[in-house]
């Protein structure tokens, strides 16, 4: 990958980030804070120590970075428009993540709380279906597997909005 060794990459759009080091939820919440926004929602997804009864000693994430950043930027813009958000910040961790550490952070702000709650849930659903990021669950015995359980991502994005599946930026 072109920028696979980058410490951190962003799509030009402010507030969309892939990071190889720890995420900073507090900074994300601060980044969307505005005097005009009375509802602020911060979602932090953390690596879980077990899935379906199988122990996970760590998660490993990899991404098609240029496409992931383009899709994240599109989702950020779509969420702002759809829910009338004041601001929106999305970041996802790449590389090895220990149980309890944050793997994804979504922070949104809006004038009132309902739009912020709805937007954060919608964004997480979209991120988990459309953004080309994959996790590998590492097992205590040294084995592990990449998770590919869902639908093909473009089928979802086409159903969700036709040519909006096209990336933006870079």
């Amino acid at each position: 990958m072109a920028n696979g060794i980058a410490e951190c990459s962003s799509a030009g759009a402010r507030g969309v980030r892939l990071a190889r080091g720890p995420l900073d939820p507090t900074a994300a919440l601060g980044a969307v804070s505005r005097p005009t926004a009375g509802g602020n929602v911060l979602f932090v997804g953390t690596a879980r120590a077990a899935t379906d009864g199988l122990l996970t000693v760590r998660l490993e994430y990899e991404a098609h970075e240029p496409l992931a950043l383009a899709v994240l930027a599109r989702l950020q813009g779509a969420a702002i428009e759809r829910f009338g958000l004041t601001a929106c910040w999305i970041e996802h961790r790449l590389g090895m993540v220990e149980p309890g550490e944050a793997s994804v952070v979504v922070a949104v702000s809006s004038p009132h709380r309902r739009a912020a709650f709805a937007a954060s849930e919608w964004l997480m659903d979209q991120i988990k279906r459309e953004v080309p990021i994959w996790k590998r669950e590492h097992r205590p015995d040294g084995g592990g597997e990449w998770v590919h359980g869902g639908e093909p991502p473009d089928a979802v994005s086409r159903a969700a909005g036709g040519d909006r599946a096209a990336g933006v930026g870079s």
Partner: protein
Amino acid sequence: MTIDSQSSHSLRVTLFAGMAELAGRRQLDLPWVGGTVADLQMAVRAACPAIGPLLQRSAIAIGDRYATAGEAIAVGDDVAIIPPVSGG
């Protein structure tokens, strides 16, 4: 990604995650003179049968966007196969 080492009749296809693991490599260099996304899927399946079942459930990316089903792919395009995602 540079394509300096590629011939004018080949296409480099990038694989990720479980697909790279199944194939045992991160890149496939396919003989290519041009064709559609469907042609690419056939060529990938022929070159690497092990990834066939996952390929059926995958999207194709060109650069930083998802390709549409009938879209043309040219030599030199930055092509990747995107299996079902699992971020979050």
